[in-house]
C-alpha cells in the first residue's frame, strides 16, 4: 500500500467554501476522505477532477444519502477503514 503523506477529512458539502479550499491544499501524495455531507461530492461531476490522490468515502454516509459510487473513482470505506487510513497517513487534517 502506497503511503499517504496527509489524509484530508472533508465533511462539508461541495457548496461550502471550505470544500474548494481543501481541494487546493491537496498534495500529490495526499489522500481525501469524504464523510458526512462531503460524500455529496461523489454526485457533482467534475468537482473532484483535480484530485490526483486516492479518494475515499465513508459508506454509512453514502448509504444514508442514497448514493452509489463508481468504485474506480471513489473507494467506499467503513469506520474501521477510516481508522486504518488515519494510522497509515503521516498526518490528518479535518476540514
Amino acid at each position: 500500500m502506497a503511503s499517504i503523506h496527509t489524509l484530508h477529512i472533508l465533511n462539508k458539502s461541495p457548496d461550502h467554501p471550505r470544500f474548494q479550499r481543501c481541494l487546493t491544499a491537496l498534495g500529490p501524495e495526499d489522500a481525501l476522505m469524504l464523510i458526512e455531507n462531503g460524500v455529496l461530492a461523489t454526485t457533482t461531476a467534475g468537482r473532484l477532477a483535480t484530485v490526483s490522490g486516492q479518494i475515499y468515502a465513508l459508506s454509512p454516509d453514502l448509504e444514508a444519502r442514497g448514493l452509489q459510487v463508481d468504485d474506480s473513482t471513489f473507494v467506499p470505506v467503513d469506520y474501521e477503514g477510516m481508522v486504518r487510513l488515519t494510522t497509515e497517513a503521516g498526518q490528518v487534517i479535518s476540514w
Binding site: N37, T44, P60, G66
Partner: protein, 116 residues
C-alpha cells in the same frame, strides 16, 4: 398569507432542514398554506433510496413523504441545483416540481423563511 419554507442544507449533516420541516408541518397543522423549497445542497433531501440506519438517523425521505398528508401544498426544487447534484427526474421522490428560483417565485408568497 402563504409561507415558503426554504431548505438549503443537505440532509443528515445538520439539523436545520429537519427544523425547517417542523416549521412547515406546524403551519399545515394550523391550516396555514405552506410550500417547501429545496435549494443548493438542500436538493439532496429529495433523492430516492436514502438508508440512514448506518448513521442512526431517521430517514428524511420518509419524513418528506408525509408532507402532502400533513397538508404541505408543494415540494419545489431548484432545477439547476438538481442537475448540479446529479438528480434526474427518475432520482427524485414523488411529487417534486422543479422550478427556477428568483424574485418571481418568492413574490408569490407573503412569507419566506429559513429555519437557521
Amino acid at each position: 398569507m402563504s409561507t415558503l419554507v426554504v431548505i438549503d442544507s443537505a440532509p443528515y449533516g445538520d439539523w436545520t432542514g429537519r427544523e425547517a420541516l417542523d416549521m412547515a408541518f406546524s403551519l399545515a397543522a394550523f391550516d396555514q398554506p405552506v410550500t417547501l423549497l429545496f435549494l443548493g445542497a438542500g436538493v439532496n433531501w429529495l433523492r430516492k433510496g436514502q438508508a440512514p440506519e448506518g448513521i442512526s438517523q431517521k430517514s428524511v425521505e420518509k419524513n418528506l413523504s408525509a408532507a402532502p398528508i400533513f397538508g404541505v401544498e408543494g415540494l419545489l426544487a431548484d432545477g439547476r441545483d438538481c442537475e448540479a447534484y446529479g438528480l434526474a427526474e427518475a432520482d427524485l421522490i414523488a411529487g417534486v416540481t422543479r422550478v427556477d428560483v428568483g424574485s418571481d417565485l418568492l413574490h408569490q408568497y407573503t412569507h419566506t423563511v429559513f429555519a437557521g
